[in-house]
């Protein structure tokens, strides 16, 4: 009995010593630790990061993931969400619809996940939306542009990129007024993004009386000679590439050169990737036009700091790095606004606050607000051209 009591006392004193030590370390470790003591004791908030981190689209995906990491690191350094730390749950969908559903279910099951940045592709968003809707888990996509995504009444859906039905007519206008092309050959890759964008572009071109021919490839295709032979014979004024993978576009451009095809080139926002399109095509993409949603953030003064930090850490940015960073920051901002008491944060509150995002000024060069469907308001479409080793704004 006595031995036991002694043991107990020893344990108690050890505990006291430990707590004192921990508290001292805490105060010494970082100032303000005492202030947010209660909040810091709360479990961390988790943010899902869904995107293609392996497979064909992994370059874009991983650069996006790095941008999310940066946004979260910065937010945590600034106190997290009212004192609660933020953690990232990586959800690799490999750009594949069926995997997108699986990782959505994984995120939905983890009750600590209160919001998701991504998925990045229209096809993966489309596939995973019902799952996120059932879980009441808000998503904010940086790059899914298919129009129907916000038209089917899914309340969880938000995006900060304009839709293809804005990009389509703008592209067609440029083709008609500036390039004065009479015939256009369109190749799409059967993805929700590539096919959807191409549908919009084709419809807008046809409405302007332009002759169009359309063919499809798949993301897995490596040999484009058969389709390019068709292009060669059709002799279009412009070849439009509605593709999700800039590396694939570069490969098409190189193979076209091997077939002696020389034609003006144009593509959507997904192809504006320096490393893969310009370097990857060994300069053959010179003169190619790409439409973008919003201005390149390299031209936005507010983004200079982000670019310097990002490129210093991870190397050259991909087309969606800035948008992904912004999407993550908007989500975190919504979480901070969602509830004054960080312990009472729920998915529903985060979703509500995210939907109410209005006039958010970040690095994209325009204030971001969502309409009732979750579409972004205020973004414009710009046309860039590949010149030398970069893209320059032409319209």
């Amino acid at each position: 009995m006595k031995a036991r009591l002694l043991n107990l006392r020893r344990t108690l004193s050890a505990l006291v010593a430990l707590t004192t030590f921990a508290a001292l370390m805490g105060f010494a470790g970082f100032p303000g630790a005492g202030l947010v003591h209660s909040a810091a004791n709360l479990s961390p908030i988790k943010i899902g990061a869904a995107g293609p981190y392996s497979g064909d689209l992994s370059k874009i995906g991983l650069d996006g993931l790095n941008a999310i990491r940066m946004a979260v690191e910065e937010a945590n350094a600034a106190g997290g969400v009212r004192g609660r730390k933020i953690e990232i749950v990586e959800a690799d969908d490999a750009g594949d619809s069926s995997k997108a559903i699986l990782v959505a279910e994984k995120l939905a099951m983890d009750r600590a996940v209160l919001g998701v940045v991504g998925p990045m592709n229209s096809s993966t968003v489309e596939a995973a939306l019902p799952t996120y809707q059932r879980a009441g888990l808000a998503i904010i996509s940086q790059s899914a542009t298919k129009p129907s995504l916000t038209e089917t009444g899914y309340k969880v859906m938000h995006r900060i990129c304009p839709r293809d039905d804005a990009q389509g007519p703008a592209s067609a206008e440029f083709v008609v007024e500036v390039l004065k092309a009479k015939s256009v050959y369109i190749i799409d890759d059967k993805t929700a993004y590539g096919q959807g964008l191409s549908d919009e572009v084709e419809a807008a071109l046809k409405a302007s009386g332009i002759k169009t021919v359309r063919s499809q490839i798949t993301l897995e295709d490596r040999d484009f000679s058969p389709i390019l032979t068709r292009v060669k014979v059709a002799k279009p004024d412009l070849l439009y590439l509605g593709l999700a993978n800039p590396a694939q576009a570069a490969s098409i451009i190189k193979q076209a050169a091997g077939l002696g095809i020389s034609v003006k080139l144009m593509g959507g926002d997904g192809l504006k990737e320096k490393d893969q399109l310009i370097a990857g095509s060994a300069g053959l993409a010179e003169g190619m036009y790409v439409t973008t949603i919003g201005r390149a953030i390299t031209e936005v003064p507010e983004a200079a700091e982000f670019i310097r930090k990002f490129e210093g850490k991870f190397g050259a940015m991909s087309v969606f790095s800035g948008q992904t960073y912004e999407a993550a920051r908007i989500l975190i901002d919504a979480m901070r606004r969602a509830s004054a008491d960080p312990s009472k944060l729920t998915r529903a509150l985060v979703m509500e606050a995210l939907g109410k995002t209005a006039g958010y000024k970040g690095i994209l060069g325009f204030p971001i607000s969502f309409d009732s469907k979750g579409d972004v308001i205020g973004a414009g479409i710009y046309v860039y051209q590949a010149k030398g080793d970069d893209f320059v704004l032409v319209r």
Binding site: T218, R222, T229, V233, A247, A250, S251, G258, Q276, A279
Partner: protein, 309 residues
């Protein structure tokens, strides 16, 4: 209709180029089947490794955007790297994954082959972070040089591919029909047990067959890299399927059949695109296989295979 006819010459050129790669791959498939009666499903992955080895050699020889040696030497180095990597890999796979299973169930090596291919693909995925690698073909072959025949453009890359694959096939045919090793190989494929009795070291013959077959895949890998200008860890999958199809089409186990099957398959794929949308090109390939198997279950040259092999 006019547009349709105008495509024909170019599509034939496309088909022959692609067909020469399929033929090289199908030969490797057929050789292994000939001596072992097993389908080497890891063949496509070996091809992928060859493509990466060639890419590695090219990147080592490139400083900025220029080669550090003459294009011909660089090409030779790439092919050497591809062949060295695949020959070594082929021998290793045979030793570790197939030889221990010999004499057992016929299914065992097949499953083992699938396992090897999964391991290789995933290893390549991890090593490359799943990213595609670009072959700087323009450093090796002049991109602005091409032969124009009847409206078809034949680039230097295509000519080199076709010529080297024909040369390799002729060389292989000579090895098989004229050398001692070729005779031993034919004997082993006819009856391994009997070959062993008359003093042929069949284990060495089988290993040799794997090395030769894998080397062919290595050459094909470098070719495809230069032709498609881009490779990734998944290229082996569809290439393996096509090679298998070509081998079966020609009569599996028959070398000349494999070469013919490869060329035919490449042509079918390109010509088929004339009538069907390009997105169905793979469907066309497999339709050709199904029809052939219905009409000639042992493949195009299958009969001769039994008489010769």
């Amino acid at each position: 209709m006019d547009l349709f006819l105008m495509q024909i010459p170019q599509q034939i050129v496309n088909g022959v180029t692609l067909g020469s790669v399929y033929a090289l791959l199908a030969l490797g498939y057929s050789m292994v089947y000939g001596v072992l009666k097993m389908l080497n499903f890891a063949h496509g992955s070996v091809f992928m490794v060859g493509a990466f080895a060639g890419w590695g050699a090219l990147s080592l020889l490139t400083r900025g955007n220029a080669l550090t040696m003459s294009p011909a030497l660089a090409l030779l180095a790439m092919v050497a790297a591809g062949v060295a990597a695949t020959a070594l890999l082929g021998a290793t796979i045979e030793r570790l994954a197939y030889r221990p299973l010999r004499g057992g169930s016929r299914m065992a090596p097949l499953i083992s082959a699938l396992g090897v291919s999964i391991i290789l693909e995933n290893a390549a995925m991890l090593l490359t972070s799943g990213r595609a690698k670009t072959y700087q073909t323009e450093l090796i072959f002049p991109q602005d040089w091409a032969v124009h025949v009847a409206g078809a453009t034949i680039s230097a890359t295509r000519i080199a591919m076709f010529a080297s694959s024909v040369a390799i096939m002729i060389l292989l045919d000579m090895v098989v029909s004229r050398t001692k090793f070729g005779r031993a190989m034919r004997a082993t494929s006819q009856d391994a047990e009997a070959a062993e009795y008359i003093g042929i070291r069949t284990a060495a013959v089988i290993a040799g067959t794997f090395i030769i077959g894998s080397s062919l895949a290595g050459v094909a890998g470098v070719m495809v890299g230069l032709y498609y200008t881009q490779i990734d860890f998944m290229i082996g999958f569809s290439a393996g399927l096509k090679a298998f199809t070509a081998a079966v089409l020609g009569g599996i186990g028959n070398f000349r059949g494999a070469a013919a099957g490869g060329l035919l398959l490449g042509l079918a794929e390109s010509i088929g695109v004339l009538i069907a949308p390009p997105v169905y090109k793979d469907a066309i390939v497999f339709a050709v296989l199904i029809v052939t198997l219905i009409l000639r279950p042992s493949g195009l040259l299958g009969k001769q295979a039994r008489a010769r092999a």
